[in-house]
Structure formats: structure tokens, C-alpha cells
Symmetry: C2
């Protein structure tokens, strides 16, 4: 059982993982630094290797009349074989001296985006990307039905430098029993700005960026993609929905199709124009509505789901760790112009 | 001139650097990803290449009767040739629509720790490490005399994965006109805990960790090194001084010598037992006293300088970016036991 531990000074939580645990000697370079090497020639996410993963979750999209854990799927969902957190009853917060901790209860799933090892998200037909997004929605709904999972984080790590330990295209879903500190910060920031703007801060940014135009990468009826004004990373992008909603699960069918097209376009641009860099894709949404509507009664007004996508081209180093400042050598206006054309 | 820009929602600042600026095409893999490759066979930090850096700062330690910017030094301080921030008069905060920014005023210096390319900090004699620490103190004092530099961040990136663009052993000093968000969070966290503990939270952690013992890596009269209870990374270490003080500049001569020995011991341990990993070393100290004693009148009571050292063995990925949670596969108790023996 892993442990969730709270840092006393910062209030930040960490997962001390035992399922993924390594002996200290495992980090010596001879053993493959950080254990992120994958064995060559075998991939547990490929079609035909279904028995190498834990049994799939029924949300998996399959051809009619094909059996679970066998070929015939298009988007497959499985529990992570080495989960950071384990499912189970919610656990009380406990103390050890002055320190707080709790059992590492949560959910950790993998969404295998397609059966073909060589096809990245950007390469898939728009309808297939829509299916992946639809699977995210279904899993979020199912996990949030269990009230003690307060936050569901959907993310994608593409490439070793972006933290992917397997190269077969996949995304991950982690649900935590605690609302993470960065999510809280975003909520409190949005709450504070709502008072000044008298409207959702994200709606306001959406309007301002669209009228300024110089940081707009792409626009369509349902979404706009910006290089954020204070981008931390070269070619960082934010995908904002035009329609205000705190919850990704509330995205409608037609919007989902539009989002799929938007993603295909910007991920394709990264691949073709920036040289297929490793990247992270991060969904920002409000915490589980069963919890967030109690904890922040104004959550439906102030929060606005969005996506963050950034290639890994610079390193996070001592300065960033100490200060939370980032040094970005590409102005977002330059990045947007480059990505737009 | 670079720009400091504030992210509206999170309140985080970024440096949009122009001195270091790259054209978007520079990021294509053929050009050396992220430009972090160094030309082989030449090092501007080596003895004999002094003219390749900007003119040295007089804090440089040299043999008597040797000339500036010539061989004969032991610890050399130079302005960064590609500074993230530039010196100059303080600049007011300005707005561009709903966004805040200011000119990128600040300091960016490099401390070349020794003339020999092949000698890492851990390899130097204790007296030489003490000299490096003493140079840090002198530079912090000199920079803080200019009141508009509100925070001085001292850090070391060792190895390419830790963000070092040159492999010659060096540290960096960056001063910002804004107190960084992570520093503020630490101050507010310490302030809140002071109310409950009725003493400095760092002093309390120092005592609790020493009496628990299982996360202690090293102890001596002046310092203790712990694997923090909520370590984010395998083999993360915190170096706490026994004597309460918010300011690194207040460390006394005998304490500095003891700190040098402490660093030599733990950095040597990382090198020998963990396989010479890339690492970051980050100084946490109170902001410029001219500013912090006004902004936080209780700063002298509540804040306690310390060092943070962590090898880069795992990747920060989508989950960490979205949540601020970290997944650590090595419990700090295991790490401390391994580093202790």
C-alpha cells in the first residue's frame, strides 16, 4: 500500500509509492537510470498482447462480437499494472509526530489510444480522437460516482523526456482522495479574479486573447488555442472552450468532435513544425462535483475547464525549483505566429 | 531586454528571455534539441579561457599578484554571458490589457567553483568548498545592498538532465525584483505553523527528525541532513542548520566550514552510492532583509534558511504538472538508511 504524505511547510502532498518501489541500487546507471528503459521488441499495449495488462475495463471500445482482453478494440482502458494509488475504501488522515499522512487510496488507469504502436494521437482520424476523448469523459463520470475520489487528473506523457515509460501512445487517469494543491491554487485564483472582473476569469482571458489576436494559434466555433501570455515553456498552448463550464464531462457531442479536430491540428503542428518533440497534455477541470460544489459553492460560476499542452524542450532546473519562476526563451507571440502558419 | 510576465490565474511569474532567445526553428532536433549541447573540446570556464567570459567580478578568489581575467584564481565569479535578467534601474509594473508585466531587471551571475574541469564540488577539499560558500555569501550581501533586488536565488545544476548547459562545475546566482511565488508560499506556510507550534516550524522539524532518527542522513554540531518526510524525489535531502536564522549571509565562519564538510559528505555519497547522478542544489533563504522585514515583520522569527538537494532520477510529467503531487518510488526512510551507511 502506498502512502500519501503532506509536506508540513508547503502543504503539498506526495505519493510514496510501494507498487513502483525500487531498491536504492536500482538507480545506479548500470541498471538503466530511473528504470525508464523499456524492453525492446515487446509492448504490452499492442494488439495481441492484451493478456499482458490487467483485465480491461468495460469502457473499452471494441468491434461487436469480440471478447474482452483480445484483439478487436479501438480504444482500450486498463488499470495501471504498477499503480501509484490503489482502489479501496477511503482512509482517514493520520499523523506520525507532527506529520500528516493517509493510505494511498485512489485510481490509476491507462487509456491505450489505439492498437497500432506507431500511430500517435495526432496521426489518428478525427473520429478516433473523439472516441479517446469520449472514453476520458466516461471514465471521469464513473470514477466521480465514487465520492471519495475528489479529483480526477487526465494527462498524457508523450516521449521519454515527458515521462512516458512506454512508447505505445497512451494517456493516463489518476484519481486522488485529496484536491491537489495546484488545483486549489487555480480555484482560489479564479475566485479572486471573479470579484474584480465580475465574470469568469477564463471567459475574460478567452475574449481578451481573441481580440488581441497575437497569441492566438487557432480558433473555431467551439475552441480557441492560445500561447499563454506568461507561457513557461516554448510553444506552450492552452486550449479554452468558448462555452463556460467547469466540468469536462459536460462537453457535448458536437463540441467533442470539434475538440478532436482542434487537437489533431495543434498536435500535428507540433509534430511537423517543431520536430515531433516529447510533450505533456494536462486536463484542468474542477474537482469531483459532489465535493467541489460543497467546498466552493461558486465553483460553477468561477471555474472553466481547459487543456494545457507543452513540448519538453527546456529543462526545469534549480532556479525553477527554488522560485517557481520559469525562463522561456521563446516569446509566446513568436510561438503563436510560428504555430499559426 | 527580457520581460517578467505574471500569469493571471496562478500569480506565477515567468521570464520571457530575449538574450537567450531562440528562433522556433532552433528547436528542431537537427539543431541540437533545446540548444543544450556544448561544443566539444572547448570550455569557457576552464583556466586559460578567462577572456571567453564577461569580465570577472572582484569577489573572485585569486592568488596574490595575479591579474583579473587571467589564470591564478580558485573560485571565479562572472556575469552570465546570456543573462535571463539584466541589471538596471528598477522598473514599474505595467499592464497590457488584463495582463501584468515589467522589464526583466535583475542579476544573473555564475560562480565557477574551481579551475579544473574535472573536479566536481564533492571532489574539492573542504576548505575550497568553504570558499565557494563564502563567495555565495559575499555576492548575496553585495546584491542585497541594491534594495530593488528583492530575492536572491543561489542554485547549482549538475549534469545536463539537471539543466546544466556547461559541464564545468559551477553554481548560479539569480536576483529578481519580485519575491517568487514559491518563496512566498514557504513564508506563509511557516507563518501559519508558527502560530500552532509557538516556535519556528523548521526548528520544530529539526528536533522531531533528530529524535525520530529514521530519516536522518547525517548529523554534526551545526547541521542535520534529512530525507524529508514528504520527499518528492528519490534521495531528496534537506540540510537544516541547527542555529535558527532566516539569512544565509548570517552563517558564521565556523558554521560555514562545517557546512562545507556536510556537503562534501552527502554529495560524495550521491556520487559513490547512487552513481554520480545529475542533481539540483537549491538555497532557500528569506528575501532581501531590506524588503522582507517590511513585508513580513515576523520574518526573523518564522523563517529558517536551508538547502535542498535532489538527484534527477525520475521525470516530472503530466500528473505532477496538473496536480503538484509527486510520485516517489523510494520511501525517504529507505533512502536515508542507504545514504547513511
Amino acid at each position: 500500500m502506498s502512502e500519501l504524505r503532506k509536506d508540513l511547510i508547503s502543504g503539498r502532498w506526495v505519493i510514496i509509492s510501494t507498487e513502483r518501489s525500487k531498491r536504492p541500487d536500482d538507480f545506479r546507471p548500470a541498471d538503466g537510470r530511473a528504470g525508464t528503459e523499456e524492453p525492446r521488441g515487446f509492448c504490452p499495449f499492442c494488439e495481441g498482447s492484451e493478456v499482458k495488462t490487467p483485465p480491461e475495463i468495460p469502457t473499452t471500445l471494441r468491434q461487436p462480437d469480440t471478447a474482452s482482453d483480445a484483439p478487436g478494440w479501438t480504444v482500450r482502458v486498463v488499470p495501471n499494472k504498477f499503480p501509484a494509488l490503489n482502489r479501496g475504501p477511503s482512509s482517514p488522515k493520520m499523523t506520525r509526530g507532527i506529520f500528516s499522512w493517509t493510505e494511498g487510496r485512489g485510481v490509476h488507469e491507462v487509456v491505450i489510444e489505439n492498437p497500432d504502436h506507431g500511430l500517435e494521437l495526432a496521426d489518428l482520424p478525427v473520429e478516433h480522437i473523439r472516441d479517446v476523448l469520449s472514453v476520458f469523459q466516461q471514465r471521469i463520470r464513473a470514477i466521480e460516482a465514487e465520492f471519495h475520489y475528489r479529483y480526477v487528473q487526465v494527462f498524457k506523457n508523450k516521449g521519454r523526456e515527458a515521462g512516458a515509460s512506454l512508447s505505445h501512445p497512451h494517456s493516463q487517469i489518476v484519481a486522488t482522495p485529496i484536491v491537489p494543491i495546484r488545483v486549489k491554487e487555480e480555484i482560489y485564483g479564479a475566485q479572486r479574479l471573479f470579484l474584480g472582473f465580475r465574470e469568469c476569469a477564463f471567459c475574460r482571458i478567452f475574449r481578451e486573447e481573441n481580440s488581441a489576436g497575437q497569441r492566438v494559434v487557432l480558433r473555431n466555433g467551439h475552441f480557441a488555442v492560445f500561447a499563454p501570455f506568461a507561457s513557461r515553456f516554448p510553444f506552450e498552448m492552452a486550449v479554452f472552450p468558448a462555452r463556460h463550464s467547469p466540468y469536462f464531462t459536460e462537453v457535448r457531442e458536437d463540441e467533442l468532435m470539434s475538440l478532436a479536430g482542434t487537437l489533431k491540428s495543434i498536435l500535428g503542428k507540433l509534430k511537423d513544425a517543431v520536430g515531433d518533440p516529447p510533450y505533456n497534455l494536462v486536463l484542468h477541470q474542477a474537482p469531483n462535483p459532489f465535493h467541489s460544489r460543497q467546498a466552493w459553492p461558486d465553483i460553477d460560476k468561477i471555474y472553466h475547464w481547459h487543456l494545457e499542452i507543452f513540448p519538453i524542450l527546456t529543462k526545469v532546473a534549480g532556479f525553477e525549483w527554488g522560485t517557481g519562476f520559469y525562463i522561456n526563451p521563446v516569446p509566446p507571440e513568436t510561438a503563436a505566429e510560428f504555430l499559426r502558419t
